[in-house]
Amino acid sequence: MTNGWDFFAQTIITGNLVLVQGLGIYALIKYTDNVKTAAKNGLTTLVAMGIGGLLVWMFENLMFVSLGVKTGLYLIIGVVAAFSAPRILGMRISFQENMYQSALVGSLLLLGTEGVVAANNLSLPLGAGLGYLLTLVVMATLRKRLELAPIPKALKGAPIILITAGLLAIALLGFRF
């Protein structure tokens, strides 16, 4: 049986939300232009994931009429978490901007599909949030180096970010074997 620490450790590296699950690509492109922005966004998402996990844990014993209603509840929890996290941290991130982040809602939806119960509802999002923060900071550092590299015009911007992230993800997959 997978315990809380397993969930926590797996989601940081080998089950990384961005590089292995493919979530949060929007943030990977938008918030990695410098390390400070990446860390700020990563921290906000980490707190939002923690709040989301806590709320999912609170509501886990509710009887749901259908899978659709349960999914709807996860989405609403995601909205509440995205709204409250920047306010708790005193950061000026608009609600709408935070909502575009699929990593937050995706991590909560994973709780349902993975059959996570009790305190693990907190360990998985926290691990996922830490992995997300780590990825954003590493990517921001890589982008600083890429600025000095002679990259063809067509590859500049989003294409080179995605290709670099893909190569980074392949490196991470090495830890799975």
Partner: protein
């Protein structure tokens, strides 16, 4: 017609506006997955476009994002339940990426109040078709490279080893990145990060 055409190519949501990159990377492992996600996203997008056009401009500025996301969540849950009832296999193969349509940047974009309803709907239809096109094209490329098949039909024989990386998330990132670079080259652009 021009508006419809623009959504398909000139302002393609995935290749030009960079909307919906998460499903493009994660779910287009097969063409059929891309088709289903593209169609379901488009249905939700068109429904929310119609409702948003009439409801959102009548609300206070601060209430608008909350109501907009509530409408999108409502439609996503309804469509999710309908698809689950009709074909549970689709829900299983799309996994968490089906409810994640609720946070898709294309679906959540703001309606332009200065445009007429007809033009607004035509623009949304064009973007929807552009989104489906991008999802299917990426699905075809990845399924062909990864399984040697297109829409489930085997094309290559077993002697050609498949590039299984194409069907993984890292492979998806590289293929989508290269596709964006090709589009940039064709459009003679590069380096822009659209908000």
């Amino acid at each position: 017609m021009k508006t419809l055409w623009e959504g398909l190519f000139k302002r393609n949501p995935v290749f030009v506006l960079l909307f919906g990159l998460v499903p493009a990377v994660a779910i287009t492992t097969t063409a059929i997955n891309g088709w289903f996600l593209g169609v379901i996203t488009s249905v939700i997008f068109l429904l929310t476009t119609v409702i948003n056009y009439f409801v959102i401009p009548r609300l206070w500025e601060s209430l608008r994002p909350v109501v907009k996301i509530a409408i999108v969540i409502l439609f996503t849950v309804v469509i999710y339940t309908i698809v689950l009832e009709i074909n549970p296999q689709v829900v299983a193969s799309l996994g968490i990426f089906l409810p994640l349509i609720a946070v898709n940047a294309m679906v959540l974009q703001d309606p332009d109040e200065n445009k007429t309803f007809g033009l607004h709907l035509l623009e949304a239809l064009g973007q929807s078709l552009g989104f489906i096109l991008a999802m299917v094209v990426l699905g075809i490329i990845r399924e062909f490279l990864g399984y040697g098949a297109v829409f489930g039909y085997q094309i290559t024989n077993a002697s050609l080893a498949p590039l299984s990386l194409a069907t993984s998330v890292p492979g998806g990132m590289i293929i989508v990145g290269l596709a964006l670079a090709i589009v940039n080259k064709v459009r003679d652009r590069g380096g822009e990060l659209h908000d």
